[in-house]
Symmetry: D3
Subunit: 235 residues, 6 copies
């Protein structure tokens, strides 16, 4: 893996990132047609924090943080660092010193497909983090890799400049070209959900609101009293 | 899977459910002869909350929340929704809108054998939840299933109307017919534990309190000084 | 497994344990040459707590807490109980009653390679715990095992009297003979990190501070503008 | 868990078991409406073997094979032993000596929700086995349990006398009352699949055979040439 | 997820696919700079088979095989079907009937990121398969998806027309534009390995062949006799 | 981790290794009091092969095979290479070229706590292998480690010169000082098992042979007819 550090990739527009920051991960993913999510094993280190920013991507070697050092220089205001490795690893490639350097540059958080460390310190300094594992295992700086190339995590491709939205539910990636459109669709979805919430609070059922009674009938789902059901079970 | 929605199943008596609500999951399971627990991968979304209620069960298709809509109508005061799928899934089948509808009906929480989403919102609205995963992955409404049939999760059978007790240690299921008896056994165990706690606080050893020194001797467990032991290791 | 309870093993000096208590798990592991960590699946039950103490080790049978009772008698001021089983288990071998007995004896916490229960109670009483799982599954007292013999967890050997340091990042084991030396190396590392932190806060890059630009060049990692890179990708 | 050994439970009729033995696990599960399967982690120890028989169930303690000894006496011609434990375990509770005793009694195989050992010997003696793990870890005989009570594995309930069908694809459970009906449905499905196979061999598409083109259109799935698609992607 | 079926994507040249078919997965991945591998959980259903072909990709819904039906029509001579789902699933989306249809069209095998079934039949008919799980769990045909769009599995992007090489070691993906170059690099690597093999058979050490003694010294790795080492350990 | 290569460690006597080679892994582990096993995730690459040999141990960095090169020189007739890494990894650190070099030196196999590759070639050349994963992921040679120091895998310590016995059931480690004693105990156990096998073939029950009926009674396990049991369940 020769390795390349790509400079100045295009990024989603800052205003679109700000617009997306108003919506939760679930809403943004729904607005994208139920796509874009990293898997459920990428978990936040803190609780109750939501961030949105533009991805600076790192593809490194397991147990090696050399390329994160190279990536810091490519990071700036409004970015979120996205780190993965060429093969699975739980080592703690990232901790408080890196977070200090990134926070100083205006970076909003990290999404890392390995372990992370100094979790208490990260919470105290308010640097948002999502990781696959928590591990204090230290690393070497011996093997090359790449910065700002497209990477894939859990079946999702993340390109530099794509928008990352992350909260307690996980992480979603919005392709940079779709940022505005997804923000608008998120707003539409949120309004629709607000109407549904109001209806549910007044006691309407989803069965009626979404017309699902007919669907159930079409699928052959039937209603039985408990006595009918248990009679059938024992016959 | 044709699918059936069973109406008005028998439920454990409300007073027995209230009685069980006074005890932790560990106590209730011990009182049932160390049975009834769902496995350790079903974790709470919040901390420090304990609930007890009667199960309304859902068996759905992975990636599909149609049958949860059907189940809402079957839920009422004091229930806990229990959701599983025909094969393993981590998708976020349940979120804040469902919780709104259920909370409005007096439902006390959810135990779901897949993913859950809107976790921050659930905590804020005080709707208690236990799940196998946290995931914002949205779902379809395309395939039938059943409501209020017996389901099995992690080797435990849960029937509609059985009592669910859940806290930070996990989830335990009490067959509805045994609710009173288990509540009484839980009270007995709690009193026994209180006596043990008092004895331990005064320095008594479990070895003496439970007569385990003889057991150790019978099993051939011996005492050696460190010097004896290391001499034996090197000989 | 005949089983032996070893009495009065040597322990790391109390002053060295105190010295180590001043450093986080990540720092101590780095100071040991990036070794000594238990794996990332051993997680704390609480947040924001750091402890250091001397290990009392237990090797028991899965689903059986007999040997923990035997171990309580061997525990004293400044110890940390370390429990593992002869084969993998998630059962809740340890809970609030054991913690009460241990706290009364001055024990500082537990590291357990199985499940733990009564987690809310442990948090309330301030008894620190790290475990592989949370489970209310109760246990029997039927099979022998050993106390204060060397055990291995996640590829690390823990001997009685070794120093355990644990915090939100996990658990590290320091061989008792190396306690002082590791404490000194931890202090040195912390000072070095403080200098790095200050430099990073002033905007210095790790690339420059650690001389990594030359390393990247040696490894053949190159810089390309986004246009150069995408041109290469499509050619 | 006091424990009970239930004698002479009802069993599926031998002729229905034989009928089911003619079909693969996938066919039988489909014939049951896509239900009844144990999960994909229960794997065969051998390759190319299919068995069908009536379940004798065991619920034991992890790391303890006492109740398997009790179960042997309850086993007879045409049975399949089904073993699970009260909490998860990978220990090798079953090996060649048990298989010898069971084979002598006409038992056709074992499905075990823990580990198994002596796998090479089992293959040599032709005793069919499905397990969650392979492990030589030996066990004790210290804790009670039950024989021929309903057990649950991977979300499926297995009662004594139910039919177990197992092959390279896994294990399916047919409730004893449904054995004949499921055998008939399996035959119907097999005939339907034979017709489909013939059609596919002649080049017919599932899209046409099942009328799925309309379904795709209804769902909004569209066809695009590669050029149209990539143009859309870049716009 | 609206869904699109992309027709006639570009494919790697047949002669380059044939060239790649001569090399094992490990060699091809090394020739690509140690990249391109799907993860170790994608395992072959058979043993001793190697295939190479061009990818036809499917992105479907968990528990739903509708889009595989749509994909069959897009498959032809020399293709390999690559199937993944929008979220994790172990269901058996693919079996012998699909394989019959594909084999009739000249398709060489399947790589599927879920479960597969009819494994014994697949082996008997010589249809090569790699999957994440073996499961007889049947599916529905209810939800849309896409065919011949780029998909990501285990952190690797697979585009339609890319070359898939698979054997007992797993699966590697070669971007279609790089097929020739990687085939050439594979040949070069194989020749280099042949020379190394000959040297190793004559007793040469990798330490000498690759000049690693100096590397070890630079890294501070030292040689000690066992007596020196154990003396150091105990001091 | 500075790293050390320890030369000429003591080894178990060749005659004791040969004696142990006569017994299966399960027998040897039982003869050691049910200890010594590596966990069930370490699986053989081949079927039907049993080896015994003396351990040469390697502790390397994840994704790095430098120290295996250093270890080859320390290997000789009758050895088995045992490889682990400082943190978890599935990379294929070992393949056919290493096996060629080792086989030329009389090494009998490998046990590796990561991935392995060239599995088909290893089977063809008859080089026995046990690994945690199969992966073609290549490695670098960049970071130091140790050879012939004690390592721990799955909670077992393996020292250089200890005896490794491995077969289809997994891997067991016998401390070098106990090799003779364990071989004798294995022989005793095998004779005892032969007698049990003969008795089982004549229809004797384990319940009677091991006197377990009394044990069951003591534990409160009772016998009930199916009718009694189901009556109790419904009362």
């Amino acid at each position: 893996m020769s390795g390349v550090i790509v400079t100045n990739p295009p990024k989603a527009a800052a205003e679109d990132v700000e617009a997306l920051a108003a919506y939760g991960v679930a809403t943004v993913s729904e607005a994208m047609g139920r796509t874009g999510l990293l898997g459920p094993e990428i978990r936040p280190v803190q609780q109750g924090v939501r961030v949105a920013g533009t991805a600076v991507t790192v593809l490194g070697w397991p147990g090696d943080n050399l390329m994160i050092h190279a990536a810091v220089e490519q990071c700036g205001e409004g970015d979120i660092l996205v780190v993965t490795t060429t093969s699975p690893s739980t080592d703690g490639l990232f901790g408080e010193l890196f977070a200090t350097a990134l926070q100083q540059r205006g970076v909003r958080g990290i999404v890392i497909n390995t372990g992370i460390r100094d979790t208490q310190e990260l919470r105290e300094m308010g640097f948002a983090a999502w990781s696959r594992a928590v591990s204090a295992q230290g690393t070497v700086k011996a093997t090359g890799g790449s910065v700002n190339v497209p990477v894939a995590v859990d079946g999702r491709v993340i390109r530099p400049g794509d928008v990352i939205v992350a909260d307690d539910d996980g992480v979603v990636v919005v392709p940079r070209e779709q940022a505005r459109q997804v923000a608008e669709a998120s707003e539409a979805r949120e309004q629709k959900e607000a109407a549904t919430r109001a209806a549910f609070l007044e006691g309407q059922l989803g069965l009626d609101r979404y017309g699902l009674r007919e669907k159930l009938a079409q699928l052959g789902v039937t209603y039985q009293s408990y006595d009918e059901y248990t009679a059938g079970e024992r016959s």
